[in-house]
């Protein structure tokens, strides 16, 4: 019962904020709505026992990625009018219909009996605390962990190269 209250308390604002991201005419408001989505999602992560990932969600997404978005939106000084230009209404309708089709089939698949019978036996050490995550990260998943540092390096070099090319001209 308590879980139901908190689930709907976090899910309904999350959906409203996500719709606001998509349909808001001003990009600043879209970015701030995405912030609400991130915080509600972090709450859901805590409810699901993923404490470390919830902290990462707040620190990395809300703290770093969205600030980057805000900086770029303010830097480019986008006009609300030429920003909110949506596609022709027929194309928009087709896109929405296709998305509704996908939603229908996702709901059909996820509510099937095979998907709901996934409750397994409890295993120790499956809680998402920092200790458990760190232990798994540096034993089982140490190779992807090292590889992802190369990815970050590549992203840094790519971003620097792109902006340096700009200042040379």
């Amino acid at each position: 019962m308590t879980e139901a209250v908190f689930f709907y308390l976090f899910t309904i604002p999350m959906m409203a904020a996500a719709l606001s991201v998509v349909f808001n005419r001003r990009p600043i408001y879209s970015v701030l709505s995405l912030l609400v989505v991130m915080f509600c999602l972090a709450s859901l992560f805590i409810m699901l026992g993923a404490y470390f990932v919830a902290a990462l969600q707040v620190l990395l997404y809300a703290g770093a990625v969205l600030v980057l978005f805000l900086f770029v939106v303010m830097l480019l000084n986008l006009e609300p009018d030429n920003l909110a230009r949506m596609r022709l209404s027929t194309l928009r309708g087709i896109g929405t219909i296709a998305a509704a089709f996908l939603l229908f089939h996702l709901v059909r698949i996820l509510t099937a009996p095979a998907a709901s019978g996934i409750a397994a036996t409890a295993r120790p050490g499956a809680d998402g605390t920092v200790e458990n995550i760190g232990r798994a990260l540096f034993t089982t998943y140490v190779l992807p962990f090292e590889l992802i540092s190369f990815l970050i390096l590549a992203a840094i070099i790519g971003a620097v190269t792109l902006s340096k090319q700009q200042s040379d001209r």
Binding site: V21, V53, A126, I133, A155
Partner: protein
């Protein structure tokens, strides 16, 4: 599809989280297909990333396996890298092509 009963709506199981994830994913998809601004498309991609993250965490909980949470850890890092490069490209587009409308950018055609 039968309508959910009141007890099914009040007993929160993995299905509820998965449905929330599906709805969030579809909202992001609608955004990608209807908005034409490059920055808005990037924002909607973030929404879809997060919907996938919620599904991963839900299954990690349901199967008592930490692998799902580790995957989300990696997805968050990859998303951060993608946003860095994507926003750099968006800034370049607006400076050099003077537009951010995805329909007007035709450099890859022909």
């Amino acid at each position: 599809m039968p309508l959910p009963s009141a007890s099914a709506m009040l007993t929160i199981g993995p299905t509820h989280y998965l449905l929330a994830s599906a709805i969030l994913f579809v909202i992001g998809l609608i955004g990608i297909m209807t908005r034409r601004n490059v920055i808005m498309i990037l924002l909607c991609i973030e929404i879809m990333f997060n919907a996938a993250n919620l599904a991963f965490i839900t299954y990690a909980r349901a199967w008592h396996d930490l692998g799902g949470q580790i995957t989300v850890f990696f997805i968050i890092i990859v998303a951060a890298a993608e946003v860095t490069v994507g926003l750099a490209i968006a800034v370049l587009l607006s400076r050099q092509l003077k537009t951010l409308n995805a329909d007007e950018i035709r450099l890859l055609k022909w």
